[in-house]
């Protein structure tokens, strides 16, 4: 009996493959990378101090000095958008990561154990799902109080992450249910490994694709939710630069004379969310064989 071999299939560069297969997604990724770079290097590239008040420059229309104009306090809007990217991306990523991970683990556990555990988890999911997000956010923000870790409002992160939990739980559970039915899980159970080992080693890696898709999609949603909460006065507090905040407060007063006050931050939100959605969408098309050409 001779050994059978197969020529090792050519492994094309996954990045190049993605760009070729999903040009729109690659464009989204590019925007995300640019924003992330801007956020990281904000101190270096932003022309002004984001919080410094300059009453002389109050409500300046876009010009050479202030390409995106200034707000009612004379703060440079471009600068605040660049720093706002930092807030948006940090909070967006953190809350999506926490929410999707918690939801994902719950979903896997729900699918793996089934029965009563599944029942209880799904009831919990139902309850949280039927909650209006605004109430949830309001209460979480109020209950947790201020808890800034490394300059990030953890209560805001929690407020955004919590509604993500049941939603990602559902998706991951569905994926995990099909993984659960896979013979390799049975093989692992027949091997007598612990449930934790099976969940972490065999189930979790195989729901990675839906998890990654969710993560990207929910970063977009989290950025949008952060903006909405800030707009409603429940999110980031002035004078911190945040996109949603730039649309709230004074802006609602001044936007008719100074439309740039809402135009640019709104565009920033839309562009960021758009880019993440585009990327997430393409990632799904790329990872999900159902959508593969």
């Amino acid at each position: 009996m001779s050994a059978t071999t197969l020529a090792r299939p050519r492994q094309p560069n996954p990045v190049l493959g993605f760009i070729r297969a999903q040009p729109l997604g690659a464009a989204g990724l590019l925007v995300i990378l640019i924003m992330a770079t801007a956020a990281i290097l904000a101190e270096k590239i932003a022309p002004y101090d984001p919080e410094a008040i300059d009453f002389i420059a109050m409500l300046t229309a876009p010009s050479m000095e202030h390409p995106f104009g200034t707000d009612a306090f004379g703060r440079d809007i471009l600068t605040r958008i660049i720093y706002g990217a930092r807030t948006a991306l940090t909070i967006g990523f953190l809350s999506s990561f926490i929410g999707c991970t918690a939801g994902g683990l719950l979903g896997i556990a729900s699918a793996y154990f089934g029965g009563r555990a599944d029942m209880i988890i799904q009831r919990f999911v139902d309850i949280v799902l039927s909650f209006p997000i605004v109430v949830l956010a309001l209460v979480v923000v109020a209950v947790l109080g201020k808890a800034a870790v490394l300059g990030v409002d953890m209560n805001l992160v929690a407020a955004i992450a919590i509604p993500i939990v049941p939603r990602s739980c559902r998706v991951v559970r569905a994926a995990a249910l099909s993984v659960r039915a896979m013979p390799y899980i049975d093989a692992a159970r027949a091997g007598g490994y612990s449930s934790l080992h099976i969940i972490l080693r065999h189930m979790a890696p195989n729901v990675l694709a839906p998890y990654l898709i969710l993560l990207t999609a929910y970063i977009a949603q989290a950025i949008l939710l952060e903006a909405s909460l800030s707009f409603l006065g429940l999110g980031v507090s002035e004078p911190k630069p945040a996109w949603g905040l730039m649309l709230a407060g004074d802006s609602s007063n001044f936007y008719q004379e100074a439309p740039w006050m809402i135009l640019f931050p709104g565009l920033a939100i839309s562009l960021a969310v758009f880019a993440f959605n585009l990327f997430g969408d393409s990632l799904r098309d790329w990872l999900d064989p159902k959508f593969r050409a």
Partner: protein, 681 residues
């Protein structure tokens, strides 16, 4: 119009003697698929033709291009990835490839109909059967609703569906798989086409149902004079049906000719190999199966020269040159430089291997095993039903012995395997493994026992964790359960890879980089890593191509001979079971029908169900097949949700009497060490 409705109108045009003009001829067809990894030449210069009234079988293993060439005829290749890059497809003298899309559409279903493999998904779930059946009639023949309905009733009757009027208003999910395939045939027949292309029409069906459908198609094509192109991997099906056979390999035709000739005197080493590697019911069990070693070539970069050469045992220097398909005589053609020198498909060597039988304390004893599932009923009427997946199943397996567990889908054979593995808890009964009842041992003890009981699954694609390397998969039991250190595990993995016939450097690969057969070998290595006494093999070869199937069967037999492992071998393929097993258990709807030694069972089956099963399985020899009377088991497999009372088999049993309805027959020893559950014996 009434003429259209009458069967008389469909009597075939008299076959003209010596009609040379083929109905359909495919000439030098080339089809390419653009994939992310490059261009796959799925069909690479293929020619075949079929004359009116003839049945042609396109045979080959998965990926050989047989279905693609059929889809190309229908011009239904998935757009935009697949496209025809060359050749002609002449149908009644016109090149289908040159037709406009609307001209082609007008021929589909009207002139050429197609029947697909998956009856479960090939019908639209939200449209009634009536609608789907009437569609071609209304589109192509311009029938009114009433006319279409009348014809639909007629068609359903033709394909053997009773109560046609009522069933027209039903939806596909209300039909069983076999019934759906009958509906598909009815749709195919609807417009009285000249040609029907059937793509693996019975592959998804159980053996008894497969026999019914084959009978039906054979009968209809004869009666209605329909030209049939049948695409299959099953040589038995070919033998039963085909007038002529075209064997495909790696996107090309390897051999072509009248069925009898091809089976009797194959002229291509691939055909020879295929015929030799199939275990046969009608021949004495040999030792090792002959196999075709290696794998089909990757069509992204096919080898130059003869594509079969790398696997060919008669390979010579001349094989570096591309062989053309050339006539050999007797209507046979082959694409081999040495076609004339082909030996006949020799009788397999009859060295009786694996004959050892350990007597004494059985390793596994299953006593009165019951497994009932509570399944929620679909739909709005709710409630749950109890499915007795396994009911009162008993058997024993000795050390180093193989017990074959056979039955059609839904018979509970897989459930029995899962309960033995303790992946499911039994509802009742005892499972004694080496004297310990698995149903009652402590979790800790069970965990210890698990190293001694292992499993090999059917589907090589899903039985390996796609995120773990081969090495990781095999090392996991060693590291986690057997206390191997990293280095020791690595060495042992290498040994195990040797043992299952894989290269050591495959340890770094991921499952998707392996072929189906290779994955199955990894699955076996994973089981062996525990050094088990006993392995449950759940349909380990049924998802594999014939040539690979033989390799795995041989591997399992060899391992048993060397390591003395006992197998519970679960399968639906009677020939494979026969090849490997010492004793055989036949199940039907959760109950054991018959238990006997292998030779006894095959030579002198007692239970009518066992007999029917053996009768239904097609044998890859046209001579044998032609000689067999059509003895297809009638009726459908009853729903496990509502099994028949009394003997579960009585609804389909040829010898059943009224008493069979009343009494559940118990398994009794009818002859020495030959048990059957039938009151008529």
């Amino acid at each position: 119009m009434t003429k259209l409705l009458s069967l008389d109108a469909m009597t075939p045009p008299k076959r003209l003697a010596g009609e040379e003009q083929p109905l359909l001829s495919v000439e030098d067809l080339r089809v390419e698929f653009a994939t992310s990894r490059g261009v796959v030449r799925a069909v690479d210069g293929v020619s075949w033709s079929v004359r009116a009234g003839e049945t042609l079988a396109l045979v080959g293993e998965s990926g050989c291009g047989k279905s693609v060439s059929a889809l190309a005829v229908m011009r239904l290749l998935a757009k935009p990835v697949g496209r025809v890059t060359g050749g002609r497809i002449l149908f009644q003298g016109r090149d289908l490839l040159a037709l406009s899309e609307s001209e082609m559409r007008a021929r589909r279903g009207r002139e050429i109909a197609m029947i697909f493999q998956e009856p479960m998904t090939s019908l639209n779930p939200v449209l009634t059967i009536g609608t789907q059946l009437a569609e071609p009639l209304q589109i192509h023949l311009g029938m009114s609703d009433a006319q279409a309905r009348a014809r639909s009733v007629e068609l359903l009757g033709l394909v053997g569906i009773a109560d046609a009027e009522r069933r027209l208003g039903q939806y596909p999910h209300q039909f069983s798989g076999g019934m759906r395939q009958r509906v598909m045939i009815a749709i195919g027949l609807a417009c009285n086409p000249r040609l029907i292309i059937a793509d693996e029409p019975t592959t998804a069906l159980d053996v008894t149902i497969q026999a019914q459908i084959l009978e039906l198609m054979k009968d209809l094509s004869r009666r209605l004079g329909i030209t049939l192109v049948i695409i299959t991997h099953n040589l038995g099906v070919v033998a039963r049906y085909a007038d002529r056979v075209a064997v495909m390999y790696a996107g090309r035709i390897a051999e072509e000719g009248p069925a009898e000739r091809v089976f009797a005197t194959p002229r291509h080493p691939y055909t020879v190999g295929l015929l030799r590697s199939v275990p046969r019911l009608d021949r004495a069990r040999g030792g090792m199966l002959e196999t075709i070693e290696g794998l089909p070539p990757n069509l992204l970069a096919p080898p130059s020269g003869c594509r079969f050469a790398p696997r060919c045992r008669w390979r010579q220097a001349a094989c570096d040159a591309d062989p053309v398909l050339r006539p050999i005589g007797d209507g046979q053609s082959a694409a081999c430089h040495f076609a004339e020198a082909m030996p006949p498909p020799a009788e397999p060597a009859s060295t009786e291997a694996g004959a050892m039988r350990h007597v004494g304390q059985p390793l596994l004893t299953v006593k009165g095993l019951k497994k009932h599932f509570h399944v929620p009923l679909r739909g709005f009427f709710g409630g749950t039903a109890t499915v007795k997946a396994a009911d009162d199943v008993s058997f024993t397996i000795g050390r180093g012995e193989t017990l074959g567990l056979v039955g059609e889908s839904g018979c509970g054979k897989t459930t029995v395997g899962r309960v033995v593995l303790q992946l499911e808890k039994a509802t009742g009964g005892a499972i004694l493994f080496d004297g310990e009842d698995l149903a009652t041992v402590s979790a800790r003890r069970m965990k210890a026992l698990r190293t001694r009981i292992q499993v090999i699954f059917q589907d090589p694609f899903s039985s390996l964790n796609p995120r773990m390397t081969v090495g990781g998969t095999i090392a996991e039991p060693l590291r986690k359960r057997r206390g191997f250190g990293r280095a020791a595990a690595q060495d042992r993995v290498a040994e195990l890879l040797d043992q299952v016939g894989l290269l050591r450097d495959m340890a770094d690969r991921y499952p998707h980089q392996l072929s189906g057969g290779q994955r199955q070998r990894v699955g076996i290595a994973r089981a062996l890593a525990m050094e088990p006494d006993f392995i449950v093999c759940d349909e380990p070869v049924s998802a594999l191509d014939v040539s690979i199937q033989g390799q795995i069967v041989n591997l399992l037999a060899g391992l048993q001979a060397r390591l003395g492992i006992a197998y519970l071998f679960i399968a639906h393929d009677l020939a494979v079971v026969r090849h490997l097993s010492h004793r055989i258990v036949v199940m039907y709807l959760g109950r054991v029908m018959e238990v006997a030694d292998r030779d006894t069972l095959y030579a002198a089956p007692l239970h009518p169900y066992t007999k029917a099963l053996l009768d239904a399985a097609p044998i890859p020899d046209p001579a044998v097949e032609r000689a067999r009377a059509p003895r297809a088991l009638k009726g459908e497999l009853p729903s496990p949700l509502a099994p028949p009372t009394g003997c579960v088999f009585h609804t389909r049993c040829p010898i059943a009497g009224p008493e069979c309805r009343a009494e559940v027959p118990s398994l009794r020893e009818v002859r020495p060490s030959h048990m059957a559950a039938c009151i008529k014996l």
